[in-house]
Amino acid sequence: MKGDRPGLFGETARRSRRGSSGSAGRRARPGSSGWAGGRGGGRGRGRPGPRRTASPSARRRRAGYLFSLPGLVFLALVLAYPLLYNVWTSVHDVRLTELLGGSSPFVGLDNYRTTLDDPDFWHAVRLSLVFTAGSLLFQFTIGFALALLFARPFPFNGLLRSLLLVAWLLPPVVSGTLFRWMLDQDAGAYNALLRAVGPDSLAHDWLIDPGTALAGVIFANVWVGVPFNMLLLLVGLHTIDPELHEAAALDGANAWQRFRWITVPLMRPVSVTVLLLGLVYTFKVFDLVFVMTGGGPVDATSVLSLYVYEIFFKFFRFGEGAAAGLLLLLVPLLAGAWYVRRLRGEGEAA
């Protein structure tokens, strides 16, 4: 999921103008004095600017386009073009041999039809839905509970919170390997703990049994997702005016009532954001599952991203792989479009 992480910063940081500017402003002093030193060189001062030809604002605009050009060209070449090319591939019969210089006949929607007729595809869709729903449910509730705990002031609060975040930043391949080891039947630490608290039969080969492999993968993914959920929800909790709680307490509301009637409703917008980001990122998880089970046993954990990988990179059925990939893209795209619209709506309201 690491590959998917940039968005976590990106999308949330989009609204961060106020916060970031605060911290950057604080740090601006040493930097600005350095600049003053640079200006002291003042070599440009005597040079006459070519200002006669264009107005300063037009010049600036031209500079703006020039500045953005390299980045935009790069993204067009390596991001936009490949995605569009994927659309082309999805309506052509592209095979490995043709990749080496053959022709790829146009087949219309055949690849989509093949994919939609494939029972394995629908199996993968179901697994993705269960994987996503299970991950979201647990990482959100556990994250919320931890956020409520960490919202209280207590010694070492910040340190413990930072430690939790380490789990989230580990490369997914490392987390996957870790959980393979933790869930191992014989020497796995979790099974050792289970054996310690109960009968030996509690120990289980979680990832080898098709009945529990998906649960094992969800377990690991929840572990990866909890810190992120906690952090965002914690920020949300801090925005709630403590006076509301105090007033309610004076009026005789108990802790549960204050939680139910103050915290929950005020946390709704943040919760929607967190769940939606979680949906986008969980739906496309690949590496964690790939490393833990490789999609097995017997396709028990072959979620949609692994299905696409198999069709494309294992069977080299490029056309069908491209079609399945575009179908996989649909969910995050719809969710993302809805989210951005929501953000914009808020922005206009503010």
Binding site: G3, F9, R18, F67, F154, L160, L165, L169, A187
Partner: protein, 274 residues
């Protein structure tokens, strides 16, 4: 509201954090345990006495060293490319009134949505055609699609916080737009730049899907792909495996320790909104 017994909360939070971090502890613990004790019936919670045997085994493998080197090269390349392309783009989007800049920002947000595997598929074909599959360049370019949109979106507000007066003063003094960016803006935003560089490094360091699909030469493969290959082939050599995993995690922990204020602050500021 001030809880009456703050240390009680500290104790509870410590226990929960410890339980949560058990896998990480177990990784280090296993990596320091003698190989013949790792698969013992009752696992030992403390490696007594600790041994570096697993690390010696893991690091004596040329393939691992090569893969680590590859990952360093790739990650540094991604950081360089991200800053080189991202800073001017972010600056233009933050400061200069241009037609279509709203659309560009929107596109950058959308750019973060596609699952990596969906992008890896066409890139596999296209990079092969272009002859840059199995090269650092091909992998660096692919990884940068993950870091660039995010870097621009994070840097834009940082750039906006640079006092406009400073820039205008420099323009009046005869500095060109490039001079303003290099001499005035960059020094001020250095902390933000360093943090974005650190995060881009982390993303590239942990990247797996592109490494798996776009590269088959061991000479170019990143260490994440190697670790996965180890899990498959040396499935039971858990000691060396956990030593390798620990080695891969060390840069992550270091970078996080260095930039955690920014990471937490940036994320925090992101969701807070009046």
């Amino acid at each position: 509201m001030r809880p009456r017994r703050p240390w009680l909360f500290t104790t509870g939070a410590t226990l929960l954090t410890a339980a949560f971090l058990l896998p990480v502890y177990w990784m280090v613990n296993t990596s320091l345990t003698r190989p013949d004790r790792i698969l013992a019936e009752t696992p030992r919670w403390i490696p007594a006495p600790p041994t570096t045997e697993n690390y010696t085994t893991a690091l004596s493998d040329d393939a691992l060293l090569r893969a680590l080197l590859n990952s360093v090269v790739i990650s540094c390349g991604v950081v360089a490319l991200t800053l080189l392309l991202g800073v001017p783009l972010a600056y233009a989007l933050a400061r200069i009134r241009m037609r279509g800049s709203g659309t560009m920002v929107f596109a950058l947000l959308i750019a973060q949505l596609p699952p990596t595997i969906v992008l890896a598929a066409p890139l596999f074909i296209l990079e092969r055609r272009a002859g840059i599959d199995d090269t650092y360049l091909g992998l660096i370019a692919a990884d940068t699609t993950l870091t660039l949109p995010f870097a621009v979106i994070v840097l834009r507000p940082v750039l906006r916080s640079v006092p406009r007066e400073l820039e205008e003063a420099a323009l009046v003094d005869g500095c060109g737009p490039v001079g303003v960016l290099l001499r005035v803006v960059l020094p001020i935003m250095a902390p933000g730049l360093v943090a974005v560089a650190g995060l881009s490094f982390l993303i590239a360091w942990g990247e797996f899907v592109f490494g798996l699909t776009l590269v088959s030469e061991p000479d170019v493969q990143p260490v994440t792909v190697l670790l996965n290959a180890f899990v498959g082939t040396h499935g039971t050599a858990w000691g060396a495996l956990m030593a390798t995993a620990t080695v891969i995690s060390i840069p992550v922990v270091c970078v996080f320790a260095a930039f955690q204020r920014f990471i937490v602050g940036g994320l925090a500021a992101g969701t807070v909104k009046g």
